[in-house]
């Protein structure tokens, strides 16, 4: 059994004292060291869930345990500070929050703010920048001179420099060109290998198929699915009901199984898996 980084037990959240519920009776666990994708439409409760996990909001009812910290409606603000040290939250379009004169100063700001010495902050910032492929010559440049993809990486480095154990990414590839998107996906895999627990909020089903170990689907504040991407994409009714578009590889594979129901031993959900499976069959066809 996986250890859980976060567990939600009957969590409900209302912004208007119980007239409407942004989140209702939500129970789930986020396994440590894995990537969990959170999907759902605007207004499904995704943002509320992220804000609760980061301790920015407290539940109206129920409790959650985040990295060993228990949070309920009556948790004191002071108790949240320590929790926030272990969580990194990369908001949508995080480059909009860049502000310092230089790239290095921007990335050092987070650790300095946590009370780390400037020497240690610099080491942490340099390590984070190098992880994101931002090299030394960029350190003294203004972040605003960089391309959009580079700015995004600097902003993420600012979060990683605080050495979080849980990383929340809200639509991390939105607005990036294909190359920039691919770079970020590679980075997310690398961070997972380094032991981080990752919560990924995304609309991109291709990313869910490629990256996620677990998927949680939210609709109008309720959990409507929890399972592996393969289980999710194998359920056309559920996908249609929640207007989720399956990855193109899944559509293509489904089409082929209409003619050849036994074609796949292991149903492919990514392009790589589809190509692997088809290549094996087609090699057989050539001989």
């Amino acid at each position: 059994m996986d250890k859980s980084a976060v567990s939600y037990q009957g969590v409900s959240l209302s912004y208007d004292e119980g007239i409407t519920w942004a989140l209702k009776d939500f129970s789930a666990t986020i396994p440590q060291g894995k990537i969990t994708a959170i999907i759902g439409h605007t207004g499904s409760g995704k943002s509320s869930l992220m804000n609760l996990t980061d301790g920015l909001l407290l539940p109206t009812e129920g409790e959650l345990v985040v990295m060993g910290h228990q949070l309920t409606a009556t948790t004191k603000q002071t108790a949240l500070n320590e929790l926030r040290h272990s969580i990194g939250f990369v908001f949508q379009f995080p480059e909009h929050q860049l502000f310092a004169d230089t790239v290095l100063a921007d990335v050092m700001f987070g650790p300095l703010n946590l009370g780390v010495s400037s020497q240690k902050a610099k080491v942490a910032a340099q390590a984070a920048l190098s992880e994101l492929g931002i090299s030394h010559p960029f350190y003294e440049r203004s972040p605003f001179e960089l391309s959009g993809g580079q700015q995004r990486r600097v902003a993420i480095a600012g979060v990683l420099a605080m050495k979080p154990k849980l990383l929340i990414l809200d639509e991390p590839t939105a607005g990036l060109d294909p190359d920039g998107q691919q770079e970020l996906l590679t980075l997310i895999k690398k961070l997972k290998r380094a032991g981080l627990t990752i919560l990924l909020v995304t609309h991109q089903m291709e990313q869910v198929a490629e990256l996620a170990d677990q998927v949680l689907v939210l609709a109008t504040g309720k959990l409507v699915f929890s399972g592996s991407p393969r289980e999710l994409f194998a359920d056309p009714l559920l996908l249609a009901k929640h207007h989720l578009v399956e990855p193109q590889a899944v559509t293509f594979a489904h089409q082929l199984t209409e003619t050849y129901p036994e074609l796949f031993d292991h149903f492919p959900i990514t392009l790589t898996e589809l190509a692997d499976a088809l290549a094996e069959k087609l090699r057989g066809a050539e001989s």
């Binding site: 294909p178 578009v245 692997d276 069959k281 050539e286």
Partner: protein, 280 residues
Amino acid sequence: MKTAMIKIENLNYKYAHQNKLTLNDLTLQVPAGQWLAIVGKNGSGKSTLARLIDGLLETPSKTIWVDGLEVNTENIATIHQKIGFVFQNPDNQFVGATVAADVAFGLENRQVSSSEMPKVIEQALTLVKMQAFRDRAPEQLSGGQKQRVAIAGALALKPQLLILDEATSMLDPEGRKDVLTQLAKLRDQGELTIISITHDPDEVALADQVAVLDQGKIVKQASPAVVLNDQSLIQRIGLVQPFSLMLRDQLKARGIKVPTNYLGKGALYEWINQQLATKA
């Protein structure tokens, strides 16, 4: 031979504050009833070109003709009657208090009679599947829904030429497919010439021809099949390959002898099906 809806000859354009030409000696024709996709990286001059066609920037004399009329101050009012222009950011073009009022705004400007108006609005909203939202305020809509309304507003005016500047970028994949299919239908009925600036390979695939802009020059003009099949070009201009070609190339990398020409999703599916059938 159809007449040209757009004719562009030796167009050069430079913004006052820049040293470099944004558009460099562009020559291009779009026959009436055709769809031209314009692709290229950010800053390649795509949006500038679209704005010059619509006379939103000062168009150099004797460089652009729309439906036979030179784009100049004298003709611009007539030309605007022929063109529907949809920008990327729908917030900058939403003027009505509700969805229906927004579509009505353009019609009122054209002095469409009030008895005719509800029908025209209904038709346009149905085309983009927004009829159920006719009484919603813009702040109750998602970005993609506002983009649909913007497209409905442009189509309600029955333009001869529709210019889309990344106008479907905020739509989800399902919604984008819906809207593009409707536009392709209007084109196929011969009612509409379309120019679309886009990064979406599926949108490119619907066009009749594709112009690839790079640093203000057209570096390639060809059918979608030819452009999309040119992998190095596609990468250079930051387009994603269509799914069918990604799969084809992945199969090739695994030692499968695949066709080298452009294959849409349907054609690749047929080819794989055939290969599998020979095995069975």
